[in-house]
């Protein structure tokens, strides 16, 4: 028997695949699964949250009210706020909300061109937007839009989804309990920045126009709201936040015109001017 001891070629016991390639593949898989799970959870949470009674939402909202900027900063702050509240009440009277739902309007002395609906039926109206609106009809449209968000429980849905998503992501990324709760609290600290989907915005537009028509008998002036928002485009900061969540102005105006035509509503009529103290803001 002949004896030899040749060198065995290297690499047979080692995988030929580049480790980075495998890593990328695994990362993509884990990412896709995580995304699917989080998406599913968020849809489930959004659906379940609609069954939470409005009274519970109001209790949660007590946090939000504390975060609001101190009121009565201007001389006619209370006058403006009362006027806005009366306008909201008028809209609610003409397009009633479900039992137990209330709207509380807060006037925020800030140059942001925006309005927001948050938990517990609290609606924030910023000075920046009020200054730019040409008449009460446009103001009523934005008010009715925010009231519609409350009616559709959109802030609650957004909160539920947000909490579920942050919790799920934090749990998956392996944060400790204290960090986790810190994160969730941090999230709810930004309740006034709740985001809604485009579908929710469209639904709120539609419901808002319904209330405006029920109140004024025509839908004139509503489109001016979107023109104002479109003009604010130049104001990059204000618009950037608005653009991110809201459908484009033209698209929204077209949808409203279509809705009015479908229902045979009058699209123009006498426009109600804003009171003097609002115009002088």
């Amino acid at each position: 028997m002949e004896y030899q001891n040749p060198q065995v070629p290297e690499g047979i016991n080692v995988s030929k695949q580049h480790p980075l390639k495998e890593f990328a593949w695994m990362l993509a898989t884990v990412g896709a699964i995580t995304l699917a799970v989080v998406l599913l959870l968020s849809l489930l949470a959004g659906w379940l949250v609609k069954f939470v009674p409005f009274s519970v939402e109001q209790q949660l909202a007590s946090q939000v009210i504390q975060q609001l900027p101190p009121s009565a900063s201007g001389p006619n702050h209370l006058q403006v706020e009362t006027y806005l509240q009366q306008l909201a009440d008028k809209l609610v009277a003409n397009a009633p909300l479900p039992e137990g739902m209330t709207i509380t309007v807060h006037y925020v002395d800030d140059s942001t061109v925006n309005a927001a609906a948050t938990l517990g039926g609290h609606v924030l109206m910023y000075r920046g937007l009020l200054e730019k609106l040409p008449n009460e009809n446009a103001l009523a449209m934005v008010m009715a839009h925010e009231i519609a968000h409350v009616r559709h429980r959109d802030p609650m849905m957004s909160l539920g989804r947000g909490v579920v998503v942050t919790t799920a992501l934090a749990a998956l990324s392996g944060f400790s309990d204290t960090q986790l709760s810190g994160w969730v609290v941090g999230f709810s600290g930004n309740l006034t920045l709740l985001k809604f989907s485009r579908d929710q915005e469209h639904a709120a537009d539609e419901n808002g126009l319904l209330a405006v028509h029920a109140t004024y008998g025509h839908t004139g002036g509503s489109e001016q709201l979107f023109e104002v928002l479109a003009q604010a485009h130049g104001d990059r900061e204000a618009w950037a936040t608005f653009l991110a969540t809201h459908p484009l102005g033209d698209e929204r105006i077209a949808a409203l015109v279509e809705q009015a035509q479908r229902n045979g509503w009058q699209q123009s009529g006498p426009l109600t001017p804003l009171p003097e103290f609002v115009r002088q803001l």
């Binding site: 002949e2 004896y3 030899q4 001891n5 040749p6 065995v8 047979i12 016991n13």
Partner: protein, 110 residues
């Protein structure tokens, strides 16, 4: 390729000794199978997923050993031994080694 765990191949003569060849692999089951195996611990019974895991590992290690043997021109591996070790939680190493040889039919052998 002839694989045997005795030191000769019956009916053949070893004409050339080529040294040791080896194959190894470390494999894990995916997390779902690990969870199922965890449940199985409660009830008892065969942990089929781990049986599968080790069977696959053994096959892969053997294939690698054969690949080494053919790379150096052997046509048989004798005195083959298997060994295993645990290198990480939920992962098992299978290691197989033997001696690569060239065999010929006994009649034509010298």
């Amino acid at each position: 390729m002839i694989i045997t765990n005795i030191e000769t191949v019956p009916g053949k003569t070893i004409v050339k000794h080529l040294g040791m060849v080896q194959g190894n692999t470390v494999r894990a089951k995916h997390v779902g199978k690990d969870i199922l195996a965890g449940f199985k611990n409660v009830f008892g019974g065969e942990l089929k997923s781990y049986t599968d895991l080790l069977t696959e590992s053994r096959e892969e290690a053997t294939q690698r050993m054969e690949a080494q043997a053919s790379a150096i021109g052997a046509n048989a591996v004798i005195n083959v031994r298997y060994s295993t070790s645990s290198v990480a939680a939920g992962a098992a190493e299978l290691f197989v080694y033997g001696t690569a040889v060239v065999v010929e039919d006994a009649s034509s052998g010298s």
